[in-house]
Symmetry: C2
Subunit: 158 residues, 2 copies
DNA sequence: ACATATCGGACACGATTTGTCCTATATCGG
DNA sequence: CCGATATAGGACAAATCGTGTCCGATATGT
């Protein structure tokens, strides 16, 4: 029950592209270095993102990637599902022949609700909102998330 | 981003045990047959569930499984996490050394919120609630979930 | 034309998932 | 106590998936 690395990379990549909108095409190599993504692997992910219509790709010299839409029009859900596939949580929700219990089963109905709730939340968050939140909290340690709890920013200047 | 088969099996197994509370120990073979679970595999899942304190196991002749607590005291979240591990969604939430972005990153904060929302929902649903919902909707086709949408119960008597 | 940079398929490798098999061990009933 | 029953628990197997690299082909800017 976790996001794959590919999905994580996709989000990071898109987030970087959303950082300064007017910039145009950004080289894959730059994105990969700044965002700590294996460059070749990012290529694969980018192809998927391009097929989903989230980024545009320019080949050849001075090539690279750019957002295909504005950062406000791309939701986290779109990014994740483009790369990892549609979120279903429970197999019984789309693998219709997998289970005999369907006519009587309350379980997948619960998963259906959970799924909707999760997708609604991710769908409601745009890249623009992420960028805005990052800049708003820049330099502050986030107290609500376990990752930064109790840390300081000493020596984290990089 | 999906529940594993093991998790699905665990839910089915516990749900079956919750169906009639006063029954005592139920043979693994029976559970496996009724719920369409490979019997040996169910054994593995059951051991995990037992370690988590969700079921009790009786070995030997007339052995089998039974709920270790009442159906109202076991939540879907407990079942799923016992088998599939704690739900994290994003690696950055628990793999603290995986990512350099942590001090500035808004992404994992969003995942943190999504995670809490999902776990809260699953944690709020008990086996008893599931059983009640199943009996309440017995014989009716569920319109809200994709699995049964547009179907009828004709020929689904089994 | 040449240098640059992505495409896209093939491939490698480890981890995870999903099972099965087999022997040991525990329990019940007589 | 004996024998039948039924799970424990480790080993093992196969398939799938996730993650990443390599390389020739292709597209683009100068
Ligand atoms: S339809 Fe398969 S568990 Fe509900
Ligand atoms: S901390 Fe890794 S992406 Fe946010």
């Amino acid at each position: 029950m976790r996001l794959t690395r590919s999905g994580d990379y996709a989000v990071r990549c898109l987030l970087y592209l959303a950082l300064d909108p007017g910039r145009g095409v950004v080289a894959r190599k730059e994105i990969a270095e700044v965002m700590n993504i294996p460059a070749q692997y990012l290529g694969k992910v980018a192809q998927t993102l391009a097929k989903a219509g989230l980024i545009g790709i320019r080949q050849g010299a001075r090539g690279g990637y750019e957002l295909a839409r504005t950062a406000g029009e791309i939701s986290l859900l779109q990014v994740v599902e483009a790369v990892d596939g549609e979120i279903f949580l429970n197999d019984c929700l789309h693998q219709l022949d997998i289970c005999e219990r369907r006519p009587v089963c309350a379980v997948h109905r619960v998963w259906g609700r959970a799924r909707k709730q999760l997708r609604d939340m991710l769908g409601g968050i745009s890249l623009a909102a992420l960028v805005e939140e990052e800049s708003r909290t820049a330099g502050k340690v986030c107290g609500e998330c376990p990752a930064t709890r109790g840390q300081t920013l000493e020596g984290k200047g990089e």
